[in-house]
Structure formats: C-alpha cells, structure tokens
C-alpha cells in the first residue's frame, strides 16, 4: 500500500535563473493517482525529481508517510520512477531488469523469481523473460520498465511522461494498463504529463502547474466546470469568455443579463462556458446571433457566433447543419456558466 505524500512550500531554482518551482504545496493521499499537468518547462519534472530525491529542493519540505525525506538519499526512499524513455539496463535480460530492485535489496532468490514472474504477467510480458531489451519494441520496453518499478512494491510510484514517446493507440492501451496496475497495487502515484486528456483519463486529482506555480489542484471535472482562472480554463480548451459585472444574482454583460446557477463573486467578472454547453434554443439567458463560421470536425461541427460585438464558439453534433450567415437564437444555460474573477 502506498504512503501519503506531502509537499510543503517546495521551491527550486537552477543556478541563478528564475525559479523552476515556486512554493508548491500539495498532498497526495495513500493510493491516490495525481497528475502533475502543465506545458513543457513548467517545472513538473523538477517536482517529480524532488519527490524521487534526484534533486534537492532549494527550500520547502517533502514528507512521505508523515516523515520528512529531504535528507534521504533516493535509493532509500522507496520511490520507484519510470522515465520518458524505458531506460532498461542494456546488458541484462528482461527478467534481470525486472528483478533489479529486488537484487539490490538482497531479497531471497526464490521469492524474487516468483515476484518477477508475477510482475511480468501483470504487464503481459511473461513470454519475454529471457529476451534482451534491444529485441523489444518501444511499448514492450516501457511495460518492462513499469514492471521493474512495481516489483519492489514502492511506497511511491513516479511516472515522468512515460508514454509520450509511444504512438497514439499504444498510449491509450498503456493508460489502461497503468490505471489497472495502480488500482490493484494501491500505489500512491504521481504522473507527470503535458497532455490534459491523459491527465483527465488517469488522475483522481490534477495539479495544474504553470511557470513553476500551482494553479489549481482538483478533480478533473472541476477543470472543465469550475476553472480557477482564465488561463486554466483556456488550457482545458475553453474559448468563450464574456466580461460582465455581477450584482443582484445575475451578471450584466453585452449579451444581456445572464443568470448563473453558481454564485458569482461581486464586481467585475469573466464568464466562461464550454462550446458544447451552448444551446441553440430560446429560453433563459438567450439572445439572437449570427453564424459567422462553420468547421466540420467529424464528430462535431464548430460554429462561430457573433452578437453585440462578441464572438462565441459553439460545438454541436454533426447532424445539425447550419449555413454561415444564418440568424439563430442561442442560449447559455445557467448551470453551465461559470464566473471567474476578471
């Protein structure tokens, strides 16, 4: 069973540059899978290396199971890491690779053998025990790397974009595998990725990091329904932003007075709504608009709407076909509108 992981005000800077990580605080519960999400260069890999012990934070504390590990060498942290590249030991067979951690701990031979066998079975590589790493495909190598990390039953499992070098279909398969293994083993897992879709599919909670700072740490739905800032909303694909002023239970905007199901902070706000939540119908929060563009994307059609000098994007099922230049009535459902501080 995994341990609870806490980062407290962790900062890191390389040399004299701007900090790679600033004041990062978050807690990961035992057995939880957290995705550290952000664009490349945002500091997420730095954070992971600090958790693994491969980097020492400039300041702040890292605790595993309630005890500070900042002074503990990586080899004594029981935090197994899987890297972007499989990095199998080229001079060892698949089975020797998987058993590496057990040999380093001087585990009894019989026990090691059965654990290695079991680990290879769990990643569906049982027939490959005696192969050399170079004989395996990239996806197979990464599965072996996963088995090698899991076989020691680590207190923390750290994954640094482990599938980014694989092609799309393989990536999907690997996600399923990681999810299953992580649930079965109950490992406390931190997964670094720049792919928001991957984070949403895998994570119990997502920690979104921009420029070394934690922007939002919530369940995946919250990033769509209740983004903390405009940048967060935009990172998760939101494109509709409407400025307004909140008061008396509604928000005054160029599109009229809009009612929200959730509370809006008083004063200037920015409303956001996802393109797929916009309805083309009359009712509450509705207005007339002109269709200015249409793009067929296979599973969806994206329309550009314009009204009162504002542009909005709407995503509709592909069977709804409207022509550019048509007048429509659009509605922003109260429960889909979310107010950000302007």
């Amino acid at each position: 069973m995994g341990a609870r992981l806490e980062l407290e005000n962790v900062s890191h800077r390389y040399g004299g540059d701007a900090p790679a990580l600033e004041d990062l605080s978050l807690a990961v519960e035992p057995g939880e899978l957290v995705a550290l999400l952000g664009p490349s260069g945002c500091g997420k890999t730095t954070a992971l290396k600090i958790i693994a012990g491969l980097l020492r934070p400039s300041s702040g504390d890292v605790r595993v199971g309630g005890r500070s590990v900042v002074g503990t060498a990586p080899e004594r942290r029981e935090a197994a890491m899987v890297f972007q590249k499989p990095l199998l030991f080229p001079h060892m067979s698949v089975a020797r690779n998987v058993g590496f951690g057990l040999r380093m701990r001087k585990a009894p031979r019989k026990e090691s053998e059965s654990k290695v066998h079991e680990a290879l079975r769990r990643v569906r590589m049982e027939g490959f025990a005696d192969r050399a790493p170079e004989e395996l495909s990239g996806g197979q190598q990464q599965r072996v790397a996963l088995a090698r990390a899991l076989v020691t039953d680590p207190r923390l499992l750290l994954l640094d974009e482990p599938f980014s070098a694989l092609d799309a279909s393989l990536r999907e398969e690997m996600r399923g595998l990681v999810l299953r293994l992580q649930r079965e083993g109950g490992h406390t897992t931190v997964f670094v990725t720049h792919d928001q879709e991957e984070a949403v599919v895998l994570a119990d909670r997502i920690a979104l990091v921009f420029d070394g700072r934690l922007q939002m740490y919530e369940e995946p739905e919250a990033f769509y329904d209740r983004p903390a800032t405009r940048e967060v909303a935009r990172f998760f694909g939101a494109t509709n932003f409407i400025e307004g002023r909140a008061g008396n239970g509604s928000v005054r905007t160029p599109l009229g007075n809009l009612r929200l199901a959730s509370a809006a902070p008083p004063g200037d706000v920015t409303l956001t709504i996802r393109p797929e939540a916009v309805r083309l119908e009359a009712g509450e929060n509705s207005f007339d608009a002109l269709i200015t563009s249409a793009a067929y994307l296979g599973t969806q059609v994206h329309y550009g709407l314009e009204t009162s000098g504002k542009s909005l994007r709407v995503a509709l099922p592909p069977h709804v076909r409207l022509a550019v230049g048509n007048e429509v009535t659009a509605r922003l459902p109260a429960e889909s509108l979310w107010a950000l501080r302007a």
Binding site: G53, R76, M81, F83, M104
Partner: protein, 285 residues
C-alpha cells in the same frame, strides 16, 4: 540504387586515399618481405626473411619489450583514465576540457621531449629533488630514460593516452550511463551497487575499445621509443627502422617482415576488439 551510387561516390576519396597509401604501402611491404625486389635483382619469392627474423634472439627480445611497454602503458592509462573520468563526470565541461583536451593536442614527439626534460638525471625533476634535499646530488636521481624498465616511454604514453581514454569514457558516463544510474537509484541501488551493476557494464565496451586502440598504437609507434628507449633491445618499430636504414639492401626483406609482423599483431588486437565489443554488447548482466 541511386542512393548506393551516391554513397559510393562520397566515400571514394577517403577509400582511395586509404587504399593507395595504406593498403598499397602495406602490400608493397608484404611483397618486399617475401624477398621480391626486382629493382635490385631479387626475383625469388621466399619466407626466408620471416624465418630469419623469428629465429633471431634480437627480434624476440624486442618483441617481449614491445609487448611489455605497450601492455603496461595501456593498463596504467586505462585504470588512471577510468578513475579520472569517474572523478570528473559531475564537473562542468570546462574542467575536463582543460585537463583532458590539452594533452591530446600535443604531439607525441613534443611530449617525449618534455618528459625527458623533467625526468632526466640532469633534468628539472632531479635538480628539484636535489634542491629539496631528497637526494644528494642530481646524479643520484633514478635513471628513468634509456633504462631497463622503459619508464620514460611508459610515462610519455600514460601522459598522452590517459586523456584520450578518459574523454571516451566520459562521453559514455555522461550519456546513457548517468540516466541508467538515476533509474538504478530510484530502484534502491547504493553507490557501489550502481557502479558495479550498471555503470561499469555500460561503460566497459568503450573502455575496452579505447584501451585496445591505445595498445595497438603504442605497439606500432616509433618516435617515443626512438627518443627515450635504450639502445638494446629496442622496441619493434625502432628495430624495423634500423633495419630499413641498413645500407645493405639485402636487409630490406627483414625490415619489411618486422613491419608486417607488427601489422599482423595490431590487426589481431583489432580483431579481438571487434569480437569483444560484440560479446560485451550481447552480454547478459
């Protein structure tokens, strides 16, 4: 097909130079070693030169000395280079550039003269030792040049070849070896375990490759033993040179036979290297 032609054309100048100068020279040496030199009226093919050289005590002494000097120089250089590379792996590129790249640019000839100036009984080292009272007078300084153990030659080779091997080892230490070491760390391997189970097996092919190259070079190199070696026995390349300079042209096949034998031995080392490199690549840990 077009690609192949292009590759062949691009390789042609290099292959041409190697072919004419190297293979041609070696071929000519081989032909002469068989006693075939029509220019001076030697038209008979024979293995006499080889028979003579191989049964010659001077040649065997020379061969033993050459194996000794090359072996010790290579062994010492390899150990020192690996230690130096391990010590400098975490330092920036600038330190290793100064420490390692500088000696590489200095010709062997200059290095030999430099070493001679320092370790000769009339040299800097002897005078310094005398001035410090370590020895009575400079003449008491141990004879390190033209000496039985070829210390001067070995020192020159070690000074020149340590940087070469170290740079090769550093490249592989800083490349994949350091990444694999991080993996090993997160899997619980301590410092010694990481070196023994991961770093050493990963760098050993390049260590072996570099040291075999050094062995082959020191085995066939002429200038350092010519300058710093004693007069008997001489190392093989010096012996071949002396025979070659012999006024009596009848000695020429013998000189060429020695050259061909040197080429055969270094060729065998190269074959061994290829074999080992292949084995190490396939070895299971």
């Amino acid at each position: 097909m077009g690609g192949r032609v292009k590759i062949a054309l691009l390789l042609a100048p290099a292959v041409g130079v190697i072919g004419v100068l190297f293979a041609g020279g070696l071929g000519a040496a081989f032909v002469q070693s068989l006693g075939y030199m029509p220019a001076i009226g030697m038209n008979e093919w024979s293995l006499d030169a080889y028979r003579q050289v191989l049964s010659d005590g001077d040649f065997l002494d020379s061969l033993a000395l050459t194996l000794y000097v090359s072996g010790v120089s290579t062994g010492l250089s390899t150990v020192l280079a690996v230690l130096a590379a391990l010590a400098l792996r975490r330092s920036g590129g600038r330190v290793s550039a100064v420490v390692f790249q500088l000696p590489i640019t200095i010709p062997h000839l200059v290095a030999a003269v430099g070493i001679a100036l320092v370790v000769a009984q009339t040299g800097l080292g002897a005078r310094l030792a005398a001035a410090l009272g370590l020895i009575g007078e400079p003449g008491d300084f141990p004879a390190l040049l033209y000496d039985r153990y070829s210390v001067g030659i070995i020192l020159t080779y070690v000074w020149k070849e340590v940087p070469f091997i170290a740079l090769v080892v550093l490249a592989s230490l800083r490349g994949v070896a350091s990444e694999l070491e991080e993996v090993a760390r997160t899997l619980g391997a301590g410092a010694w375990q990481r070196f023994w189970y991961v770093v050493f097996p990963v760098i050993s092919p390049s260590v072996v490759a570099a040291s075999l190259l050094v062995f082959a070079f020191t085995f066939g190199a002429f200038e350092v033993p010519y300058l710093l070696g004693k007069s008997y026995p001489t190392m093989l390349p010096v012996m071949a040179y002396d025979e070659y300079r012999e006024i009596d042209l009848a000695a020429r096949p013998g000189a060429m036979a020695i050259n061909v034998l040197i080429a055969l031995i270094t060729g065998a080392v190269a074959a061994l290297y290829l074999r080992l490199a292949g084995d190490l690549g396939r070895r299971r840990g």
